[in-house]
């Protein structure tokens, strides 16, 4: 009797809530999504190709520009892969500092994710700015150790570029002391908010089988109830020395993904605390030639980044430049299931589902 026509809307590439230049081609019936196709590549810089003409050390600043909200973790993943390839030993102190930096970075990245997700839900910038305050403190610490707030370029093959300054530890101590209180505040701000619950519970459910099948990783995977964290499943660096939990949730909806980040921040604080207590003295860098020539061979090194499994696949032909430099970026692979969880939901749901997946276009497009 009544016939309606679906309308097609291009969300993005310029849209306030697509996390950069990301486009969704959505077909609507009213406000219900019939079909959705993610379109990206607007930020493609060919970092994989560029890497083939740089030395191993020169690639480190490029990894900063992958997921620019978690540059420290990218550094970490890359240097670990190269060290695995060239079989380089890293001093103890450097390992501990790397873990501290990586976990701080995880907190900072999760803060951004949660803040932006709530912003997309319509909480007008307030949660975002509160979380930004804490992130700013972490950036202050990073600026102190390496001189930059976003693109750190701090880790080196065989250690770190330089040791931490004197005033770092007291400042970190204060931060770690206060952080659990702030996490409680964020919980109070919105965790029980009826509107938030109604918006996020049962929205964008990703069942565990599908999550594994779609190669989803990181907090999104764990929110679906799969206990898979590379820090525990395949411990790299010195993660086997710390006592921490791998939190998981059951439902795999947007709310669980939001909870996951809050829970993981608490665990990260725990790890940083332990690493601070155990931090040994000593060198932070093994001397490695600037034109490192790893032996012929290949390596796949992966770590648990804030967004998921961040892997570097390096093929060496014995020259100072990698023969092939491939990045297994979690953000793009986590997007695989985006269409499936959005179809049949409303427009507003798609926006927060995208927010809960937590993409960073620098990493998606590379």
């Amino acid at each position: 009797m009544f016939k309606t026509e679906p309308i097609m809307i291009n969300f993005g590439p310029q849209h306030p809530s697509t996390h950069g230049v990301f486009r969704m081609r959505i077909t609507f019936d009213g406000e219900r999504i019939l079909d959705l196709e993610p379109v990206f590549g607007y930020l493609h810089r060919g970092i994989e190709k560029l890497g083939e003409s740089k030395t191993y050390t020169q690639i480190i600043p490029y990894t900063d520009r992958l997921d620019y909200l978690a540059s420290m973790t990218n550094n970490h993943a890359y240097v670990l892969a190269v060290e695995k390839l060239a079989e380089i030993e890293v001093p103890e102190r450097a390992e501990y500092l790397r873990v501290i930096m990586a976990e701080l970075m995880r907190i900072a990245s999760h803060l951004m994710t949660v803040g932006f997700m709530l912003n997309e839900m319509g909480a007008f910038f307030t949660p975002l700015l509160y979380m930004w305050r804490e992130r700013e403190k972490i950036l202050d610490l990073f600026e102190m150790v390496c001189g930059q707030r976003l693109t750190y370029n701090y880790m080196r093959i065989g250690g770190l570029s330089q040791d931490i300054p004197e005033e770092f530890m007291p400042a970190l101590e204060r931060f770690i002391e206060e952080m659990p209180g702030f996490i409680d505040e964020y919980d109070q701000l919105l965790a029980e908010n009826e509107i938030l619950l109604a918006r996020t519970k049962g929205v964008g459910i990703l069942p565990p089988e599908q999550a594994i099948n779609c190669s989803v990783s990181g907090p999104v995977l764990r929110a679906s109830g799969v206990q898979w964290d590379l820090r525990r499943a395949d411990p790299y660096s010195i993660y086997d020395r710390f006592d921490f939990e791998i939190p998981t949730c059951q439902n795999g909806d947007v709310y669980d993904r939001y909870r996951m980040r809050i829970l993981e921040m608490r665990q990260s604080v725990r790890i940083v605390k332990q690493a601070m207590d155990q931090l040994p003295l000593g060198e932070v860098r093994t001397k490695v030639s600037a034109t490192l020539r790893p032996p012929k061979g290949e390596v796949y090194g992966h770590i648990e980044g804030p967004k998921g499994e961040l892997g570097f696949y390096l093929v060496s032909d014995g020259s100072p430049n990698p023969y092939r430099f491939h990045i297994r970026a979690p953000a793009i692979i986590n997007l695989t299931m985006f269409r499936d969880v959005c179809v049949g939901r409303l427009l507003a749901d798609a926006i927060i589902i995208l927010g809960s997946i937590d993409i960073c276009m620098g990493e998606v497009d590379r």
């Binding site: 990206f40 590549g41 493609h44 060919g46 994989e48 190709k49 599908q210 594994i212 099948n213 779609c214 190669s215 989803v216 799969v226 898979w228 499943a233 395949d234 411990p235 796949y300 992966h302 499994e309 892997g311 696949y313 093929v315 023969y323 092939r324 491939h326 297994r328 793009i332 692979i333 997007l335 695989t336 299931m337 497009d365 590379r366």
Partner: protein, 149 residues
């Protein structure tokens, strides 16, 4: 700790299922024939005690005389991993069977390999360029890209 299964071990298991499919194996990797990719992938995914349910990454390397497509597989159930490789000697029109039907996570990664390396995946539901625009000439990650072509 994720146990990296030895290539020899896995090659033997594959050999029991599909003789002649394995061309070569190394300490960590198994090299298989292009036409058997889908079959072996299904075998690796569905055989008990192998159960490679998680596809970490798909990528390709251009060794000028051939392309090598690399699959990193992990079993979340058993916490072990293997690297699966296949070689593609046709430079003009390289084709590899798609594994999207087994692991949906291969979707974007195969499109990326197609886009940047120019290897077509047979059976992929939506094989088109993903990072570069439609109509882009050439495949940038090939070693001969930009060298006067």
């Amino acid at each position: 700790m994720t146990i990296a299964l030895s290539g020899e071990d896995v090659a033997r298991r594959i050999g029991e299922h599909l003789p002649d499919a394995v061309t070569e194996f190394s300490e960590t990797a198994v090299f298989i024939k292009v036409e058997d990719v889908l079959d072996i992938a299904r075998f690796l995914k569905e055989t008990p005690r192998l159960e490679f349910d998680y596809l970490n990454s798909i990528t390709a390397v251009d060794y000028t005389e051939h392309f090598e497509v690399v699959y990193h597989l992990t079993s979340i159930t058993n916490n072990h991993s293997i690297v699966l490789k296949t070689r593609c000697y046709d430079r003009e029109n390289p084709r590899v069977p798609s594994v999207v039907s087994l692991w949906q996570g291969a979707d974007f990664q195969e499109r990326e390999v197609y886009d940047l390396m120019g290897i077509a995946f047979d059976g992929h539901p939506n094989l088109k360029r993903i990072l570069l625009w439609e109509g882009f000439a050439g495949h940038p990650l090939r070693k001969d890209y930009g060298s006067g072509v």
